[in-house]
C-alpha cells in the first residue's frame, strides 16, 4: 500500500516536473532573447586619437539626454541622444576639451544636460545645503550634550530627596580626587 503510494508519487512528480522544466527552459530562453535588443545601440565611433575614446565615454555618461527624464546619453535610445552622441564625437575629434563640450551643450540645453550641476547662485543651496544641515545638527547636538552633562553633574547634588544625596556622597567619597572627607567615610565604615 505504502509502496504503491510512493510509486504513484514519483510518477506524479515525473509527469509534473517534465513540462515544468521544459517551460522554465523556454521562459529562460525567451528572457534571454528579449534582453538581447537592449544592447542593440551599436554606433561606430571613430576617433583620431586613442585618448579621445575614453573622454567620449566619460562625457556621454555625464551628459543627460534632454528628451528623457533620467537617462544619460550613453543609455538612451532617443533620436536626440543619438544626435548628441554624434555631436559629442565630432566636437572631441575637433580637439575640443571636455569643458568645451560641456559648455556647448550647456549653451543650448541648459543646466538640465549636466548630471553634475554647476555651482551657481541657483544651485548653491543644492551644493551647500547638506553641509549647512550637518553643521547645524553638530552645533545643536554639542549644545544639547553639554547641557545634559551639566545637568547630570549639578542636579543630583542639588537634589532634595535623601536617597540621591546619599548616592552622591558615596560617589564622591569613592572618587580619589574628590575624597576630601576620607576620614569621615573611614569612620563610617565598621572597624575590623
Amino acid at each position: 500500500m505504502q509502496n504503491h503510494a510512493r510509486s504513484m508519487n514519483t510518477l506524479l512528480n515525473k509527469t509534473l516536473t517534465a513540462p515544468f522544466v521544459y517551460l522554465s527552459f523556454m521562459a529562460g530562453l525567451a528572457l534571454f532573447t528579449l534582453t538581447g535588443p537592449v544592447y542593440a545601440v551599436v554606433e561606430i565611433a571613430e576617433f583620431s586619437q586613442p585618448e579621445y575614446e575614453a573622454r567620449y565615454k566619460e562625457l556621454i555618461a555625464e551628459l543627460r539626454c534632454p528628451k528623457c527624464q533620467n537617462q544619460n546619453l550613453l543609455d538612451s535610445d532617443a533620436p536626440i541622444a543619438e544626435d548628441l552622441r554624434r555631436k559629442t564625437r565630432s566636437l572631441i575629434n575637433q580637439g575640443k576639451t571636455n569643458e568645451q563640450v560641456k559648455a556647448f551643450m550647456l549653451d543650448r540645453y541648459g543646466d538640465f544636460v549636466l548630471y553634475k550641476p554647476r555651482f551657481t547662485a541657483a544651485t548653491a543651496f543644492l551644493w551647500l545645503g547638506p553641509f549647512v544641515l550637518l553643521l547645524l545638527i553638530i552645533v545643536l547636538l554639542v549644545r544639547k550634550i553639554k547641557h545634559k552633562q551639566e545637568q547630570e553633574m549639578f542636579l543630583p547634588s542639588q537634589a532634595n530627596d535623601e536617597a540621591t544625596r546619599i548616592k552622591v556622597r558615596n560617589l564622591m567619597s569613592n572618587t580619589p580626587s574628590l575624597n576630601r572627607d576620607n576620614s569621615e567615610s573611614d569612620n563610617s565604615t565598621p572597624n575590623k
Partner: protein, 191 residues
C-alpha cells in the same frame, strides 16, 4: 517656562514637516518636461539651410537664414512628417497663416523632403519658408530635443519664447498671441 519649551519641541518637527510638504508639493506640480530654454533672450542661432521645394516664399535663392527676417517678429516651428503631435498642432498654424501676416518658418527636422512635401500637400502649408534640417544639426544649435517645438524671434533676432511639444489653442491664446498684436486682436475680437 517648561511648558513653553515642550510646545516648542513639538512644533519644530511639525514646522519641518510642513516646510518639506510645501517644497515637495511645488516639486510635484511642476511639469518635469518643461525645461527652461537656455536660449531665451539670446541671439537666435544662425543657419543657412536649403529650402523645401514647395515653400511659398522662394525669394532668396533656395536657402533660408534667420538673418533674412531681421526687423520682423516671426515664428519658427520645428516639425516633421514622422511626428504625430505635429499633426495635432498643424491646424493652428494654418489658422495663423490665413488670419495674420506673421512670418511662419517651418524647420523641417530630421525628415525626408519627399515625405515632408507629401505631408504638407495633405494638410496645407502655412509656412513662408521651410528650411530642411535633414540630420538635425541645426536642431541641436537651437536646443531642440524633439518635434514639435515652437520659437518666437523678435525684431532684433532674439529668441523671446520657446515651447517644447505641441501647441494648443490655450497656449496659442495665452502665451503666443500676446507677443503679436495682430494675433492678439484676433483673439480679443472673438466673444
Amino acid at each position: 517656562m517648561a511648558e513653553n519649551k515642550k510646545t516648542r519641541l513639538y512644533i519644530i518637527p511639525l514646522l519641518a514637516f510642513l516646510g518639506l510638504a510645501i517644497l515637495l508639493g511645488i516639486g510635484l506640480t511642476l511639469n518635469p518636461k518643461e525645461l527652461p530654454s537656455a536660449l531665451i533672450n539670446k541671439q537666435a542661432p544662425d543657419f543657412n539651410l536649403p529650402l523645401l521645394n514647395l515653400s511659398t516664399e522662394q525669394v532668396q535663392a533656395t536657402t533660408f537664414s534667420p538673418t533674412q527676417y531681421l526687423g520682423k517678429r516671426w515664428i519658427l516651428n520645428v516639425w516633421a512628417s514622422w511626428c504625430p503631435s505635429c499633426r495635432y498642432e498643424h491646424p493652428l498654424f494654418n489658422q495663423i497663416a490665413s488670419n495674420t501676416s506673421i512670418p511662419l518658418v517651418g524647420l523641417n527636422y530630421k525628415d525626408k523632403p519627399e515625405d515632408a512635401s507629401q505631408w504638407l500637400a495633405e494638410r496645407g502649408n502655412p509656412y513662408n519658408a521651410i528650411p530642411s534640417d535633414i540630420n538635425g544639426d541645426i536642431g541641436i544649435e537651437w536646443g531642440v530635443y524633439g518635434a514639435p517645438e515652437t520659437f518666437v524671434i523678435d525684431e532684433q533676432g532674439h529668441i523671446i519664447y520657446r515651447h517644447a511639444g505641441p501647441i494648443n489653442a490655450r497656449i496659442l491664446e495665452q502665451e503666443i498671441a500676446p507677443l503679436f498684436p495682430t494675433l492678439n486682436a484676433l483673439f480679443n475680437n472673438k466673444p
